[in-house]
Symmetry: C2
Subunit: 286 residues, 2 copies
């Protein structure tokens, strides 16, 4: 890593980082926000679905009385493009513990008409106000230490330089799930990685919305090489993540009828299960 | 079973059954449907969340060009009551393979004002048009044969006569997950059962929306006795179910901060995984 990048990494913080700047929203009128989809979070030509969800999540955090996403569902309607966008939000219900809202991300066609890209339905709460009880039976994924996992600089592995988002993430894949990158997919619908932001910004609930959709698709390890567009993605944020790198584990069990599910878990450095997600995706054979 | 009930069981079909009649919706104007929440699908005083989801699912099936729910998310806002209700739908996007819609279930307060009970976002398609490929690694739940599982008539087990919905369902619980009913919960967040409609109507995609939320809460097997209201429930319908009883398996892995998830799988008689769901629920200690 160049020295300048190292120095920057040491200083990026929640609220002052590339991720925060690129998910910023500007109120135009109550509940309506202007934003700009950054070309920095694209995979080939597609704007990453997790980045888009974080952006919508930030707008809803402004529009609702509670600060944190507890459960967020997005339906991806049409392909988002880098550039200007508007987010229209609606308060559906506000309660003491939870509030529910809806949001639409829209862009403009050649005639300047609004085209809806994504529709979101979400309930927000305050993760800091939850009791400390934890009675989980879930266990962190078996993933080797970060230094034994593989990133773009380690050779013919995922996202190697081809996509701008690669420069913004620090994804280090479990060697057991990178077979696809060398033409030898495992046949198992599993993808595991350490996940962080390249500038060293620590995770917060919005970064969790990004983390669940930031790894290569499990379909690659199933031997499929086509595009796997998300139809719907639901994320449950279950706790405020501790500082430091996250572990993300994604599993696909049911590939059938041209669709598959991706189940993601995100664990923090305290071994807390901080997010669970599931998406329904279409399989487009390449 | 009384003879009359047996005779009725032999004749109920998809489209002509109690479930179909109690989830009927009547168009009032384009996209708006009148309905009546039946007291027959309540658990104590609460209208069952899966029944409500099936009702909303039926309205969206009318409002959208595609017939079957592929992915449906519901946020439960306020407590529904038996009686009149209105469902307002909106087409969000219609495409060739999928269409996306939104729906709200509303009832009336004492002053006749509409109060929103549930907000739904869903994408619909045509399950009959999907290719036949199945490359699943998921396996059916280990559950004893139906005749070795336990229903209300077998003694101090779930829902025993206390709730009207009991009469409309044929739920037979795996003996390994009924400890809670005799004061000896297993401590594992698991609930498994055979599921059918009492009048013998075979399953269809709408019945799957009911099936994922029809078992006793996993919280009971974790030793919790309070109410576990659903915040959000997402169901993926993955295939048209074959005739005959379904197997439903529900798992909770993460009980923390006063919330838990319930992951459900529904399998049909052909051993196809026909639905997957996850809900986020609050734990209210009793």
């Amino acid at each position: 890593m160049p020295e300048a990048a190292t120095a920057r990494a040491a200083h990026a913080t929640v609220g002052d980082s590339e991720f925060d700047r690129d998910t910023a929203v500007t109120p135009r009128e109550p509940g309506v926000y202007d934003t700009d989809l950054s070309a920095g979070w694209t995979v080939f030509d597609a704007v990453n679905g997790g980045y888009l969800l974080a952006l919508l999540g930030r707008a809803l955090g402004h529009a609702l009385p509670h600060p944190h996403p507890f459960t967020v569902t997005a339906h991806y309607l049409t392909a988002s493009r880098p550039g200007p966008a508007v987010i229209r939000t609606q308060q559906v219900r506000t309660g003491r513990t939870l509030s529910t809202g809806q949001a639409s991300l829209l862009q403009y066609d050649d005639e300047g008409r609004e085209v809806e890209r994504i529709r979101v339905l979400a309930s927000y709460g305050d993760l800091a106000a939850l009791p400390d009880d934890v009675r989980t039976t879930a266990e962190p994924p078996a993933i080797p230490p970060l230094e034994r996992c593989l990133g773009p600089e380690d050779g013919p592995v995922p996202l190697s330089g081809s996509s701008p988002i690669t420069d913004r993430l620090r994804v280090r894949l479990d060697p057991a799930t990178v077979g696809w990158a060398v033409g030898a997919p495992s046949g198992r619908g599993e993808m595991r990685a350490w996940f962080g932001l390249a500038d060293g910004r620590d995770p917060d609930p919005l970064a969790l919305l990004l983390a669940v959709d930031a790894l290569p698709p499990t379909a690659f390890e199933l031997g499929l090489t086509g595009w796997v567009p998300t139809v719907e993605l639901t994320v449950h944020v279950r706790a405020l993540p501790a500082p430091g790198p996250l572990r993300v584990s994604i599993t696909t069990r049911n590939l059938a009828g041209g669709f598959l599910e991706e189940d993601a878990e995100v664990w923090d450095t305290r071994d807390r299960l901080v997010a669970q997600s599931r998406q329904l995706a279409r399989v487009r054979l390449g």
